[in-house]
Amino acid sequence: MKIIRKRRDIHHGDRYFYFLLKGLASGLPLLLFLIAAFLLKASWPTINEFGAAFLFTQDWDPVGEHFGVLAFAFGTIVSSLIAIAIGAPLSIFTALFLTELASSRVAKVAGFLVEMLAAIPSVVYGLWGIFVLAPILRIHVEPFLGKTLGFLPLFQGPPYGVGMLAAGIVLAIMIIPTITSVSREVFRSVPQSYREAAMALGATRWEVMRIAVLKTGSTGILGAVILGLGRALGETMAVTMVIGNRADISASLFSPAQTMSSVIANEYAEATSATHVAALLEIGLVLFLLTFIVNSLARVFVWRASLGRSAR
């Protein structure tokens, strides 16, 4: 009799505890929904007024009250692609170095250094970008690229230092820790037996990495790169500080540009008209949806990679 009552008490305590946790946890999906809802509501004036033209026109004129983000979308996408082009191979090779080549002691220190890249605040990267990276680009890198690869439209035009290339490089640095750490997890999860199978077939050290590690982990690597892309698309401060902030669609990587997030950071202070504010908020909504989609995609790949692993 007494025992039975005690059991029920335990049961109740557990139930209250569970509902408390569950209640607080359910706040998170709710928050996600609220973010979308509030951004939608606040940007309704411009959604209503411009519709799809908001996304597909290039004219951003706060005075004339016309808003089209095409040039900013161009800046966001191109700077992110530069970041991936530079950052992804560096990260994947670094992850290979850490898991396959370095001794565990070296890997510990080296891995820590790479992680510290993620700890540097964005605004500090921006400061460094303005005063260290941009001058190097302007004085050394861009004239050199112009001389050697200047037949490509990508590398034509005056060297500004600040601009699309600078933004792409800073973004590349900022996504290296993300791609490296996810790739590193992917490589670590590749069973040793595939490496041994490759060695037993007479594979050299690099070939073992290529056929046993990279190929086996390819889905996961793709996921890692897309995660990096997601991070690059929304990065704000460092980009704002080094991209030059001019809404041009130019073939040259040397020329200044503007991204969706940098225009928000630049104009928040001067946005006085209600439509202008709504337009900036709509950019936020677009960024939200964009990163949501990109990151969901990345997760599908990483998840599939880990699924294949557990089936083995």
């Binding site: 540097i120 460094w128 303005i130 050299t204 690099w206």
Partner: protein, 295 residues
């Protein structure tokens, strides 16, 4: 039969092997080079921040308000104080919520609902921080009709939740099943087992995760731009705009005045030292805890 005649295959193999060895050697160099290149920015940033930031640090930097345009001197005391206030505010919101979600995910993490929560954690972690800032702007700043420290703290608090939830979940999952079973086997109710055996036993590690996420939001700039805004004055209440170190660094960095740029470097040095020192200390502490656990 296969022993007597060297097949065409083995001849081909001999020819290509030299090239393969060369490729392998080259790739090993590429891997090492990739790592070195990836860490160049770390050292470059650190070097320049120390070199340019150190001269800007003096007594005034830590005790004075910013000087008006064109006047020499002044400091970032209000921004330092503002960042501390914002981070405390963010912690009040972010730490309990994040830790609770982490506990929920590790202890009741198998349901469909938990999968939704986990997905939300991942998504929230990957939303650009400027979007969180815009959300708080729409949620708090527009209705209140003013920028405020409250809004800034809320934005940073939201940013803390996913990182803390994730690390807490991962830490709690490390606790072996037999410890949980031992707890339950004693007849302790599950909630007591979770709070007093599992969570208390991992307090140190959870604190590490919390500190790291505090260090991270302390450097966040974008979500503060249109929530806390900035201020040239001392703290004047949570319903007022408030200065913060990262926003001040941003404003000074893009200003045309050398004096301000120099102070931006000084601010960056303070920020980076804070971030690096907390990272190194917490990691060392964590490693020591792990090490003793293993031996």
């Amino acid at each position: 039969m296969r022993r007597t005649q060297p097949s065409a295959l083995s001849q081909l193999v001999e020819i290509t092997y030299k090239r393969r060895r060369l490729v392998t050697r080259a790739m090993m160099i590429v891997l090492i080079a990739a790592f070195l290149v990836a860490t160049v920015p770390l050292f470059s940033v650190f070097f320049h921040v120390v070199r340019q930031g150190l001269p800007a640090l003096n007594m005034d930097f830590f005790t004075h308000l910013p000087a008006p345009v064109g006047e020499a001197g002044g400091g970032l005391a209000n921004a330092l104080l503002g960042t501390i206030i914002l981070v405390v505010l963010a912690s009040v919101i972010g730490i309990p919520w994040g830790v609770v979600i982490g506990i929920f995910l590790s202890e009741y993490g198998k349901s469909r609902f938990a999968a939704l929560v986990r997905f939300s954690v991942d998504m929230l972690a990957s939303i650009p921080s400027i979007v969180i800032g815009l959300f708080v702007y729409a949620l708090v700043v527009i209705p209140m009709k003013r920028f405020s420290g409250l809004a800034g703290g809320l934005a940073l608090g939201i940013l803390m939740v996913p990182t803390i939830a994730r690390t807490t979940e991962e830490i709690l999952k490390l606790i072996p099943v037999h410890i949980r079973e031992a707890g339950l086997g004693l007849g302790v109710p599950r909630w007591k087992m979770i709070l007093f055996i599992i969570v208390r036993g991992s307090m140190g590690a959870i604190a590490t995760g919390v500190i790291l996420s505090v260090a991270r939001v302390a450097g966040e700039t974008a979500p503060l731009l249109f929530t806390a805004l900035s201020s040239r004055f001392w703290f004047g209440g949570l319903d007022q705009p408030i200065a913060s170190l990262p926003v001040q660094i941003f404003n000074y960095a893009i200003s045309p005045f050398e004096e301000w740029q120099s102070q931006a470097w000084g601010g960056a040095l303070v920020l980076i030292l804070f971030v690096f020192v907390t990272n190194i200390i917490t990691r060392l502490a964590l490693r020591r805890a792990h090490g003793s656990g293993q031996s």
